[in-house]
Amino acid sequence: MDRLKFATVWLGGCAGCHMSFMDLDEFLIDIADHIELVYSPVIDVKEYPHGVDVCLIEGAVCNEDNLEILHKIRRRTRVLVAFGDCAITGNVPAIRNQLGLKNGESVLQRAYLEGAQSNPGIPREPGIVPALLPRVMPVQEAVHIEYYLPGCPPPADRIKAVLAQLLAGTEPRLTGAQLKFG
């Protein structure tokens, strides 16, 4: 029996969605038989593989690195699930967009200069520290997304509902309160 090639990815977010994923508890064991986790922040795989069936994307698209990997994921994955409010709406990371054209510089300055307790300095290492995008985007603004799993974070039972439907080969459908943002 082929197992579903499954991935999760962490873009600009707080990892809360992944924490919530961990709250799936024993369901994680149930799905272990059906999926092969090929890429995730919780496993040590450096390169996103080809031919992935499903990928859960946490976080908004905030920097060049996020955008690049998202494009790569799209090309290598059949079904993308926007996972949590940051991926779907931009949520808290996107609040910086309100600051106008120089929003990226403003937040760096605030965090690394004004807010620094010691050694103030904005980290800039080309090739290591990716540059911020001028505008934080929800993932669907950059690539096509198949399904959406809202929540900040999405509660475990909501994640379970989506996964169960995906594994059962049906289109995941969330309704009513399961769609609540925040």
Binding site: V92, Q98, L99, G100, Y148, G182
Partner: protein
């Protein structure tokens, strides 16, 4: 007063001749979504969520301002209406900065609840991320323009029920926003009576009581309804 008999979603309904379609539907237990209607103040037909189909009329009609008529066949739910309603809600989310996760009204918000009800799993429009301010100058209340949907309930309760006229709409189009007096800080308003009715009426987290944090802003609508009913029915007179 004469009665009118008509159907709503196939159900035979009777209502007074002056009743609106929205009143009649509510009475019949049929819930039509709306964001600008508020019990106790006049209707403006602005949010367009309560649009319904009426047989024989080409245009969609707002349930809140359309009077019932004999023999009317009203449809409050159809694929087309659901589609338009969802788009309306999406337009609102894209228009300002509605960040449910950090909103005082999270879980008690009419906009959020309608998004769930209409199956909005994401917003298909590009968010505009405008820059709007938060007015925290009032001693009791705050106003976050980022969460305002311009339903004008606050304007109407302030004028129609309280009679203060502190709140109004300034500007127009997407630049419209709610002001206090001469577009001054709410705290410096000379007309605000601090009655809090605007806060009671607000459907989102735009108006809130000071001190509340995420998800804590619950509203007691019954107070507003009580004031209006008591006034109309002269219940004040013992």
């Amino acid at each position: 007063m004469a009665a009118r008999t008509f159907t709503i979603d196939g159900k035979l309904v009777t209502a007074e001749e002056n009743a609106t379609v929205l009143d009649a539907a509510t009475e019949a237990g049929i819930d039509i979504p709306t964001l600008c209607h508020l019990e106790g103040v006049y209707d403006v037909g602005a949010c367009r969520l309560c649009l319904v189909e009426v047989t024989g009329i080409g245009k969609l009609l707002p349930a809140c301002t359309t009077r019932v008529a004999e023999g009317m066949e009203i449809k409050t739910d159809s694929e087309r209406l659901r589609k338009y309603r969802r788009m309306t809600i999406e337009l609102l989310f894209a228009e300002r900065n509605h960040v449910c996760a950090v909103c005082v009204a999270n879980s008690h918000c009419e906009l959020q609840a309608l998004a769930c009800r209409l199956g909005m799993d994401h917003v298909r429009y590009d968010y505009t991320f405008p820059r709007w301010s938060v007015d925290n100058t009032h001693t009791l209340f705050g106003m976050d323009h980022n969460r305002c949907i311009l339903c004008t309930r606050c304007v109407r309760v302030c004028w129609h029920i309280e009679g203060a006229g502190t709140k109004n709409v300034s500007g127009r189009g997407s630049h419209s926003h709610i002001i206090s007096d001469l577009n001054q800080s709410w705290g410096s308003s000379e007309t605000c009576t601090r009655c809090g009715k605007c806060v009671m009426g607000c459907p989102t987290g735009a108006l809130f009581a000071k001190g509340v944090t995420v998800s804590e802003m619950e509203r007691d609508r019954t107070k507003l309804e009580f004031i209006v009913t008591a006034r109309e029915k002269k219940q004040w007179i013992a």
